[in-house]
Every structure is written in structure tokens, then in C-alpha cells.
Amino acid sequence: MIVWVEKDLCDGCRRCLKACPYGAIEIKDGKAEILDRCTACGVCLEVCKAKAIFSDAEPKKIPDFSDHTGVWVFAEQRNGQLNRVCLELLGKARELGDALNQEVCAVLLGSRVSDLSQTLIRYGADKVYVVQHKALTHYRTIPYADAVEALVKTHKPNIFLLGASHLGRDLAPRISRRVGCGLTADCTELSIDPEEKILLQTRPAFGGNVMATIANRYSRPQMATVRPGVMVAVPTPDNKGAVVRHPFQITESRIGVKVLETVREKKTGSDLAAAKVIVAGGRGVGDAQGFQILRELADVMGGEVAGTRVAVEEGWIPSENQVGQTGKSVRPEIYIACGVSGAIQHRAGMMHSRYIIAVNKDPRAPIFQVADWGIVGDLHEIVPEMIRQLQASSG
């Protein structure tokens, strides 16, 4: 497959250049030129207003999917406890379902879990499909994939959302393969295209340096996973829903996997990538002792401590906790930068955080430009006050 530019039609507007995910377009003498590294992905064809870009690919026919309806959510549970991510997904599913005028359904698997149906209904499910079987007690890939595959093939949902938990990321790809539908991982935004009525799935790529919107036009359900904490659970206490039970049969010999033991562990060490809250310190912290107070704030908030390159080079924190261009890229829900000036190298590693709070003595510090909320003041006074008030509020 080849992509080429009709030079006479090209007006050199550079839209294709900006859209190309592979940096495979150059403007030469005011006209776009496709370079060798082009993968023929076709993004440039869609953005070209002058219709100057062509491809030899025959347009794929979009099948009729009018028999696929409903927005489904996989209701992940372990030991009879729902993972909060499925309630968050129900909140999103409700919004998508309303936009399409389609029902919202939850899929609940396990043994003796039907009690959880009511919770799912109270968070927006119109219908809960329940599959109960001894083989589904502990999560195992093949029986779960078998059960969900059967449900999807019987009821033909339009959209199917799963949490991007360890379980969801183990299961979703297998369902996608079996049903023959596309799957988009770790979406941060989901919406319905007002004209085409398809699901627009937006996710970060290249370590969060680029956002990509992905469509799933050629298969159903339109499957996506979403990380915990990205969507918002919306309680619907008056909602009424139906519980539909499905039979399921499987033999142990088909499964191939035994769970010998499940061990719960207290967390050791820090995991910045997974942290929801990060309290970061820079030069302004002053010394290793100063990080103690940041650690306290992180503990109160249930987060981790990180630092800038300066803090690492001074030996105040270990290098594995460095955030920035030469350290780690993080995207927590809350990033609290204390005594961090906000050099571009540091910002590159944290600018994708959901909320950024800056505490710095210098009101001109660049960190305030990327912060949602800033406090101009000495962190050695502000941080202890935050700890005090947070402890008081959690009572």
C-alpha cells in the first residue's frame, strides 16, 4: 500500500505534517512530500482539506452493525468485592448510553456474586448479566474468556468497556481476539461521534507525549479499557434494573491453569508509575531532612514521594524516584510540587498529571504556569499545615 501527494492540489497547509504520527511528511518547496518512513497509516488522508493525498488502498466497506446495541461494562470482582473501576466505567457508560439511546449492561462473573448486582444497578446499570459457576470463583483467563465470549456473541453489544486492571488487561485482549473486534487500551477519553455515532477512543501514546483518537469502524463491540481513576462513578440510587442469569459449563481440562495460592502483600518500595498522588520536592526542600515532611504528606494522602534531578544529585532521594526527562514520566491524579522551580526537563515528566499543585517561595517560578493551583509561600510552613488540615478533615 502506498500513499502519495498530488503536488498540483497541495496548498502546503501543513495539516498533514502535524497529523502524521510517524514524522514521515516534509514540506519541500511549499508542497508536502511523503518520506520513506511512511507506514501508510492513512491519517494524512483524513486531515487533508485540499484532498491532495491519495492511497492505493481500496476503502474498506463498513458493515451494517444496527443489530448491535447496548453499552456494556465488565464488573470486575475479586473475593466478592467489586473493583471500583467498574463503577467508574458505569458512570461513563451511562453517558454514552444516553447519547446513543441504548441500555447500559454490566457483566458479572464469579460464584455467589449475584448480590453485587444491586450495587451495579445503583451506579447506572439497566441490566446485569450474571454468570455463576465454581470454575469462575477465582479469576482465570480461559473460563472468564469463554463465559464473556458466549455472552457477547449471544447479545451483540455495541460498546464494551473493561477496567485496565491486571485482570482486565489479561482478559480483554482474549475476548477481542475471539469475538474478532478491535480493542483500544487505557483510554483517557471516550465520547460518541455526533455524526457517525461511533465511539471515539482517545489515549496517550509514546509515553504520554502524544494523544491519539482511535475509531473502531469495522467490528463490534467497540472494545476499550480504561485505567482506574480516570472516569467518575455516578451514583443513581433510584435506578431500577433487571438481573439476567446465564448458564455456563466448562471442564477443568479445558482451563489449563490452577491458582495454587493468592498472597496479599503490603506494598514495599515506591511505584511512581502507579501512584495516584505524588508529592515532589526540588531544590527548595533544602536537605534530606526536608523530604521527611514531604513523605508525611504523601502518607496522609496515600501517595509517593518523588524529586527533581537536583534532589537526586544532592542525594536527598534515590534516583529511582526522579521525575523528569532523565527520570520517570508520571501521570498521577494529583502532583504536588514543593520547592520545585519547574524547569522544562522536570515538566516533561509530570505535565500530564491530572491536577498539579505548586508550592514555591518565588512567585515567578515557571512551575506556577503549569499548575492548577499555586501557593506562594515557604513549603516548610505550608506542607505541615496541609498535613494538619488533611488529618483533621479525615477525622
Binding site: P21, L82, G207, E265, G374
Partner: protein, 275 residues
């Protein structure tokens, strides 16, 4: 114990630089590396080979320049490399990629285990492993950080969960996805690297026809999902500098945080959230 290890060549996204003016990714001069999780997967396969013997084959799909990661794999101790390269493979989503890899695995010959990294740093999807396992119709264990034992019929592994781990016994043949916690990848040996660069190096380069797939089934054409837009992430920041005394500023900050979507992330507010 014969293994196949799936390896991807990726741009080193930790070295990514952003244009300070536009916030766009600067692509020039981006270094290519073995995907970090895949290096751990290769190390896991080589460790098994060291203990029980057998053959380790590295398999990659990518442009011709991905031959570099094949050489590196041979340098680390892999016995052979297979590079799938064809313009028809370009632009593939995970569906088309996993199909192509699975077809190639079926061509490579006999094997007991397929190892891969949990996810690649350029896409972060973690879908290829489970999808390949499903094409092959074999069980899988994902997020593996330890192998306890192997016998001709089973492998026993530890699999990382959010709040601990589980011990799984998995029937062979099986597919294992590995996380970085598992091991430290060995350095390539210079003599092996040099041998891997020679013309006679045991690296096979295969195209779509060689593995018996039609171009419509692979690459962009065989994909079910398509990128319709890319853009630099933009964040609307309130940029609000709070005012007042120490106590007042902190109180306002906490109120704003509590009212925001970030509230669920903070343990101190947990008592106000259901479940």
C-alpha cells in the same frame, strides 16, 4: 525446553524531548532500543535455557532496521532470530500484529513456551501477549515476576496482582508475559554480537508470503482499529494562585481538591467516598 521470545524495537520514550514552544514531540534523533519488558522476557528464556537446555528463538516484527534487536538478542545468547518485515505489515493494530506473530510462531517449529514483555513503551497496550496466546489456543500467565518450577507438562509462576501476587500452575505449551521485576537482563557478549552481525548469522528475514498470510489480513488493512487523529496533549490549567494567610490558603486548596475529580485519588478523603 524450547522458547520463542517476542521482541519489539521501540523508540526510547524516556529520552523523548518536547519542543518547549509547541509542546510537540521532537522525533529527530530518537534512539531505538529493545523494548525494556522484552529484554526481561529474553532474560527469563535464557535463564531457563541455562538450567534445562533447549533453544531460544527471538521473533520480531518491524522495519528492516529492527535487525539490530535481533543481533542484540543473539549477543545476549539467543540461538536464532526471526525478523518479520514487509511493507504490508506496517500500520498494524494489535489485532493484525498478534495474528502475524501467531502465524510466524506456528512456522518456527516446535516450542514449549512463548515469552513476551508485558507491554511496549511506545504503545503501552499489553494486548499482544494475550492475543497471541488466543490465536495459538494456549493458556497464558501475564505479569509474571518469578518462575518457580518447570517440568515437561507444567510451569509454575508467580503473577503480580495490584495487592500482592498469585501462584499459578500453567499447562504447557503456554505464553508468559514478563514484568521488569523478574530479573536483570544480561549484557550482550562482544564475540556473540560480532557473530550476530555476520552474514551467516542465524537470522531469518521473512515476509508476508513466507509466513503464508495475505496482505489484506495484516498491517493497516488487516487492522480493526484506526488512528483518526493525533494531537499534543493539552491541559487546561486553572493557574490559580491562592491568596490569604497560611491557614486560609491551605483550606481553600483542600476544598478545591475535594471538589475536583482528583478527590478519589487521595486517601485522606476516602471516608467521604462510597465503596
Amino acid at each position: 525446553m524450547d522458547s520463542i521470545v517476542l521482541i519489539k524495537q521501540v523508540p526510547d520514550t524516556t529520552e523523548v524531548q518536547l519542543d518547549p514552544k509547541t509542546g510537540n514531540l521532537i522525533r529527530e534523533g530518537l534512539k531505538s532500543i529493545i523494548n525494556p519488558d522484552d529484554a526481561h522476557a529474553l532474560e527469563a528464556a535464557l535463564t531457563l535455557k541455562d538450567r534445562f537446555g533447549g533453544k531460544v528463538t527471538a521473533l520480531s516484527m518491524g522495519p528492516m532496521q529492527a535487525i539490530d534487536v535481533m543481533t542484540e538478542a543473539l549477543g545476549m545468547g539467543a540461538d536464532a532470530g526471526v525478523l518479520l518485515t514487509d511493507r504490508a505489515f506496517a500500520g498494524a493494530d494489535t489485532w493484525a500484529t498478534s495474528f502475524t506473530l501467531a502465524r510466524a510462531i506456528q512456522q518456527v517449529g516446535s516450542w514449549d513456551l512463548v515469552f513476551c514483555g508485558r507491554q511496549a513503551i511506545d504503545g503501552d497496550t499489553a494486548q499482544i501477549g494475550p492475543q497471541v496466546a488466543d490465536w495459538l489456543g494456549i493458556p497464558q500467565a501475564t505479569y509474571v515476576f518469578a518462575i518457580e518450577s518447570v517440568n515437561p507438562r507444567h510451569i509454575t509462576v508467580k503473577r503480580r496482582l495490584e495487592d500482592g501476587y498469585e501462584r499459578l500452575q500453567c499447562r504447557l505449551p503456554a505464553l508468559i508475559t514478563v514484568i521488569g521485576e523478574m530479573n536483570t537482563p544480561r549484557f550482550p557478549r562482544v564475540d556473540r554480537l560480532l557473530a550476530g552481525c555476520r552474514e551467516k548469522a542465524p537470522i531469518r528475514v521473512l515476509n508476508a508470503a513466507d509466513i503464508g498470510v495475505k496482505t489484506r489480513e495484516v498491517g493497516l488493512e488487516g487492522s480493526l482499529t484506526h488512528v483518526i487523529q493525533t494531537f499534543a496533549p493539552k491541559f487546561k490549567r486553572e493557574g490559580k494562585i491562592l491568596e490569604g494567610g497560611k491557614e486560609g490558603m491551605v483550606r481553600e486548596l483542600i476544598q478545591r481538591l475535594k471538589a475536583s475529580e482528583g478527590a478519589t485519588a487521595c486517601r485522606a478523603f476516602a471516608s467521604t467516598c462510597e465503596l
